[in-house]
C-alpha cells in the first residue's frame, strides 16, 4: 500500500523501520534528537529507541565518522547525519582512507562497513559558499563507496532502507529543497535497489539524465517540452555510484541526443561522466553533440540577486533541449507560471536554513 508522505517523512519512516529491524543499529548526528529533529527527518526516533541508540554528538565530524566505522566493524550498523554536506569535508579522510577502502585493503578478510551517511545539500535563502556544496562527483570517483541522490519520497525511503542493509558504506545525498516534497511512499520495508535509475518519462527525441532536486525542474521541463511537441526520455539517476549505465546508454542509443543535468559544477562532474561515457559507448548513434547543464564555475553566492541565476531551472533545460534539437522553443510561460521567490523551494520554506 502506498500513501503520500513528504520526503522528510519518508526518510523518517525508513529510519524507523531500519532501527526496528536491526535492534543494534545506531543513529547519530548533530541535532539528531533536538527540537527540530533534522528538518523532521528524525522525529520520534529517540522516543522509540532511546538515547543509547539515537544520540546527539560532539562537533567532531572526523572522529565521529571513524567511530561509526569502528562500531560497524563490530556488527553495529550506523546511520549518521550531517545537516550540510559542507561540514563533512572534515571527515573525508575517514570516509575515503578508511570506510571506502576497508574491504579492499584487507582483501575481504574484514567485517563489513555497514554505514550510511546522510548529507544534506543546502540551497536558497543565502546559504552561500559554505552551505551549498554538492560533491557527488567526489564520492563517485572513489571506489568502494555507494552514492545515492533520491529525488522523490518513495525513492528516499527505498534507497535509505537498501543503504541501511547494504554491507558497504553508502553516502545518501538529500537536497534541502526536497524535504517538503509530497509523493507516494509504499508502506513497510520497501527497498529500492542501489544502482538502478528510474525512467520518469519516455520519448524519442532526447535523453535527459538528472538527479535529486534537478529532477523536479526536469519534470517541469519535460511536461513543457511534451506540450511543445518534443518527447523526452527522463532518467532520474537515483544512484550515482554504481550508476545504471544500461538504462542511460540504452536511452541515448535510442534518442541519439543527450542532456546531462547536475547539481554541481561542470568540471569533472557526474554530468561530465555521463556525457563522456555516452560519447565513448554510443558514438555511432549520437545525432548531435551531447550537452550538460550545471551550476557555473564559481561558489554559490549569498545575495539573492546573485543566486538568482546560479541554479539552472526548467527554462534552462528547455533551452538546452531546444539547442540539441536545433529548434526554437520559448520557455517564458514556465517562468511566468512561477509564484514563489527564486530563493525558496516553496512557501513552506521559511528560512533561515
Amino acid at each position: 500500500m502506498s500513501r503520500h508522505l513528504s520526503y522528510a517523512q519518508a526518510i523518517n519512516e525508513a529510519t524507523m523501520i531500519a532501527m526496528e529491524r536491526d535492534p543494534r543499529m545506531l543513529c547519530f548526528g548533530l541535532g539528531m534528537d533536538d527540537p527540530k529533529r533534522i528538518f523532521g527527518t528524525t522525529d520520534g526516533l529517540v522516543e522509540a529507541f532511546g538515547r543509547h541508540r539515537v544520540f546527539d554528538m560532539p562537533t567532531s565530524e572526523a572522529g565521529m565518522t571513524g567511530i561509526a566505522i569502528g562500531a560497524s566493524l563490530d556488527g553495529t550498523r550506523c546511520l549518521m547525519t550531517h545537516q550540510r554536506l559542507d561540514f563533512f569535508l572534515l571527515a573525508l579522510d575517514q570516509l575515503v582512507n578508511n570506510a571506502a577502502k576497508w574491504q579492499y585493503m584487507f582483501g575481504g578478510q574484514s567485517s563489513p562497513v555497514r554505514l550510511v551517511i546522510r548529507l544534506i545539500l543546502g540551497r536558497g535563502w543565502g546559504q552561500g559558499p559554505t552551505h551549498s556544496q554538492s560533491l557527488q562527483s567526489w564520492f563517485a570517483h572513489v571506489p568502494g563507496l555507494k552514492v545515492v541522490m533520491p529525488s522523490f519520497p518513495g525513492d528516499a525511503k527505498g534507497l535509505l532502507l537498501s543503504g541501511a542493509f547494504d554491507d558497504n558504506p553508502v553516502v545518501f545525498l538529500e537536497h534541502r529543497w526536497l524535504h517538503n516534497l509530497q509523493g507516494p511512499v509504499p508502506e513497510g520495508d520497501h527497498r529500492v535497489p542501489l544502482g538502478k535509475a528510474a525512467v520518469l518519462a519516455e520519448g524519442r527525441d532526447v535523453t535527459i539524465v538528472s538527479m535529486s532536486y534537478m529532477t523536479i525542474e526536469a519534470l517541469h521541463a519535460v511536461q513543457f517540452l511534451r506540450e511543445s511537441g518534443v518527447s523526452a526520455d527522463l532518467i532520474d539517476l537515483r544512484s550515482i555510484s554504481p550508476l545504471d549505465w544500461d538504462t542511460v546508454l540504452t536511452s541515448v542509443r535510442k534518442t541519439g541526443r543527450l542532456l546531462a543535468i547536475d547539481t554541481s559544477h561542470a568540471m569533472c562532474s557526474v554530468a561530465s561522466e555521463i556525457v563522456a561515457t555516452a560519447a565513448i559507448e554510443c558514438f555511432p548513434q549520437l545525432k548531435a553533440a551531447p550537452q550538460r547543464l550545471t551550476v557555473p564555475d564559481h561558489p554559490s553566492p549569498t545575495s539573492p540577486a546573485l543566486a538568482e541565476h546560479f541554479y539552472p531551472r526548467a527554462e534552462n533545460i528547455v533551452a538546452a533541449v531546444a539547442g540539441l534539437l536545433d529548434r526554437r522553443l520559448d520557455p517564458s510561460p514556465l517562468v511566468a507560471a512561477r509564484t514563489s521567490p527564486h530563493d525558496v523551494p516553496g512557501d513552506w520554506f521559511k528560512g533561515p536554513f
Partner: protein
C-alpha cells in the same frame, strides 16, 4: 603598572557605548528580519555583548581578528563598518563582502577583521596562521580568534593551539561558552566535570576564565593576556561564561521549544551585561543620565543610518556573480 593603574585604564564609557551599539544592532536585526529582506541565516549575539565589547577595546586597530558564524558583534567591536555589514546581510553590492558572503562571511581588513566563516572551528587555524606571520614580521600585533564552546570539539582546534604553543605565537583565543551548540547542551558533547579552560591548559597555553557578563572583568583579563602576548610570552586562551538570548539562528526567542528552560534564560537576562553595567556606571557616577541618553541617541542614529544605507543600496549586478573566484592581485 600597578593594579590600580590598570583599573584606572579601563575605558568604562567605551565599554558601555560599545555594548549599546552591539545590542541595538542585533535587536534591530531581530525586529526587522521577519520582513524577509535579510535573506540569509543570521546568528545573533544578544546577551553576549560583554565579551565582544571588551575584547574589541583591548585590541588595537592594527591587531587582527577572525571569527565564526556568530560574528556580528566581533566584527563591529573590532571596528568593522556597521553600514557595510548590514548591507551584506541585505545582500547588497555595498556589503562588506559585496553580497557574496552574507551574515556568516564578514570582512573588513581596514580595521584588521580578517574574516568570519561558517564552518565550526574553520578559522581557528587561520587566526593561528595570522599569528605566525605576525611573529615573523616581528611586530607586537596580536591575532585574536573568537570561538564558541563547540569549537573545542573540533580536532583542528587542538592542532592549532599545539602549534601556537610550540612556536609561541601571538594569538589570543577567546572562547564564549554559552552552554549550547545550536540546541545541543554541553552534556551531550563534552564529559561531565569538563572545564574547557582546564582542558586547554593541558596543551601548555596560558589560560584564564570567568564571567562574560562582566565587561570589566573581560577587559582586564584580556588586557593582561594581551600585554603578555605583546611582551612575547606566547599565546593565551580565555573562556567566558555567557548566554545567547535568542534562538541559535534567526530572530526569535526559542525557550519554549524544549531544549532549554525559560528560567535559565531569565536568570541570565537578570545578569544582562548591558543593563547591569549601565546601572553600575550610573551608581558610581562614571556616567550621568544625560550622557546615557546621549549615547542611546547616538546609537539609535547610527543603527538607523546603517539600515537606511543597507536598504537604499543597490543589489549587485548579476554579472558580478562570477567575479572574484580568483584574486585580482597582480602576480608579482
Amino acid at each position: 603598572m600597578t593594579a590600580s593603574d590598570c583599573q584606572a585604564a579601563i575605558p568604562r564609557r567605551d565599554l558601555l557605548l560599545q555594548m549599546k551599539r552591539l545590542r541595538a544592532l542585533e535587536e534591530t536585526i531581530a525586529e526587522r528580519y521577519p520582513e524577509g529582506r535579510m535573506r540569509c541565516p543570521v546568528h545573533l549575539s544578544t546577551g553576549q555583548e560583554g565579551v565582544s565589547a571588551a575584547v574589541g577595546l583591548v585590541l588595537r586597530p592594527t591587531d587582527l581578528a577572525v571569527s565564526g558564524h556568530r560574528a556580528h558583534t566581533h566584527y563591529l567591536a573590532k571596528g568593522g563598518s556597521m553600514p557595510r555589514m548590514l548591507a551584506e546581510i541585505y545582500g547588497k553590492g555595498t556589503g562588506c563582502s559585496r553580497g557574496k558572503g552574507g551574515s556568516m562571511h564578514l570582512i573588513d581588513e581596514s580595521v584588521g577583521f580578517k574574516g568570519s566563516t561558517a564552518i565550526v572551528g574553520g578559522t581557528v587555524p587561520v587566526g593561528t596562521g595570522l599569528g605566525l606571520s605576525i611573529k615573523n614580521r616581528g611586530t607586537d600585533q596580536v591575532a585574536c580568534v573568537f570561538l564558541g564552546d563547540a569549537v573545542v570539539e573540533e580536532g583542528v582546534f587542538f592542532e592549532s593551539v599545539n602549534f601556537a604553543v610550540l612556536h609561541r605565537l601571538p594569538v589570543l583565543y577567546v572562547c564564549e561558552n554559552n552552554l549550547f551548540s545550536v540546541y545541543s547542551p554541553l552534556s551531550v558533547r563534552q564529559p561531565p566535570g569538563r572545564a574547557i579552560h582546564e582542558m586547554v591548559a593541558g596543551l601548555g597555553i596560558r589560560t584564564a576564565h570567568g564571567d562574560g557578563n562582566d565587561p570589566e572583568f573581560v577587559y582586564t583579563t584580556c588586557r593582561g593576556m594581551v600585554d603578555g602576548i605583546r611582551a612575547g610570552h606566547g599565546p593565551a586562551f580565555v573562556e567566558f561564561a555567557t548566554y545567547r538570548w535568542r534562538e541559535h539562528c534567526g530572530p526569535h526567542f526559542d525557550n519554549h521549544i524544549g531544549y532549554r528552560e525559560e528560567a535559565e534564560y531569565l536568570a541570565w537576562k537578570e545578569r544582562d551585561p548591558l543593563t547591569t553595567y549601565e546601572r553600575r556606571l550610573l551608581t558610581n557616577n562614571v556616567v550621568t543620565d544625560d550622557e546615557v541618553t546621549a549615547m542611546n541617541e547616538a546609537v539609535a542614529t547610527e543603527v538607523h543610518e546603517a539600515f537606511a544605507f543597507a536598504e537604499a543600496s543597490p543589489f549587485p549586478a548579476p554579472e558580478t556573480a562570477s567575479d572574484d573566484v580568483f584574486s585580482r592581485g597582480a602576480a608579482s
